[in-house]
Amino acid sequence: MTHTETHITDYRVYGWVLFALLVLTTITITVTWIDLSALTVLVALMIASVKSFIVLKYFMHLKFESRLFTVFVVMVLSIYLLVIGLTFFDYLLR
């Protein structure tokens, strides 16, 4: 058997995580009512990133998995951010 020290998360933890995600959703919606012009996209993306971080860490169990999983996720996201960066570098300086 390969069942090594399984972590059982309490229901309440997920309840709080859900609550936090709903609060963040409310903030995202409220922020769009305020006109931040150029910053709107940035703020929306920042809140979405915080939400994804919570989903990845708690719902997707990265917090309790081996570090290897987190390293992989960070690598993939870094590559993706690099691609976005390079694309805009090319696009804006054409």
Partner: protein, 198 residues
């Protein structure tokens, strides 16, 4: 004789698959980003056509469904079979609500002639065509994932019921859950980028 099993390996495999999905949607988000930069005014105006209320309801529904999937893992680990099945059933119900809302949303757009390739859409400005094409393609692909996820979770739910997913063996539930959270994760970005930035 004991059959060899590698749960961590199975989950790692699922994660590798999720990475390919992230890059698939990532490509679309990249197109969105560049086109939004190029046609910022038109994207801005076109987004007003989307129903932010339905978008918000679907966001809440998806978050709730993600929480219940996560909770069902706890239930199965603790051997609370009925609870596990019930929680997954709530998830599937949420998926149904999501799809129904999408039906209303898309149905309305199609009824007024707004869909890729329609006469109305061809007549629109370039930025509008791009926005609505991306909207239909990205939410459509997301919806396809949601349908697939629902099928997987239905199978998982039945397997919990029959006992082939049990406190000693529940990797399929974990991997199905990971897939479902991915669907949620993508929506977390789709929602503000398509519906809210008006």
């Amino acid at each position: 004789m004991e059959i060899h099993r590698d749960d961590i390996g199975a989950r790692l495999g699922m994660w590798l698959f999720i990475f390919t999905e992230i890059l698939l949607f990532g490509g679309l988000f990249l197109v969105y980003a560049v086109m939004r930069h190029r046609y910022s005014v038109e994207f801005h105006q076109a987004a007003h056509q989307l129903n932010a209320f339905i978008g918000t309801v679907n966001t809440v529904v998806l978050l709730l469904s993600s929480a219940t999937v996560a909770m069902s893992i706890t239930a199965v680990q603790r051997g609370e079979k009925r609870k596990g099945v019930l929680l997954l059933f709530i998830t599937l119900l949420c998926a149904g609500v999501f799809l129904f809302n999408k039906y209303l949303e898309w149905g309305h757009k199609i009824s007024i002639g707004l869909y890729p390739g329609s006469d109305m859409m061809i007549g629109l400005k370039h930025g509008y065509i791009l926005f609505f094409s991306l909207y239909f393609f990205m939410t459509g692909l997301h919806m396809l994932h949601l349908v697939v996820g629902s099928i997987i979770l239905t199978i998982v739910m039945l397997k919990i019921q029959t006992g082939s997913i049990n406190p000693g063996k529940y990797t399929l539930l974990e991997n199905g859950g990971l897939y479902w959270h991915l669907v949620d994760l993508i929506w977390i970005f789709l929602f503000p980028l398509l519906y809210l930035i008006t």
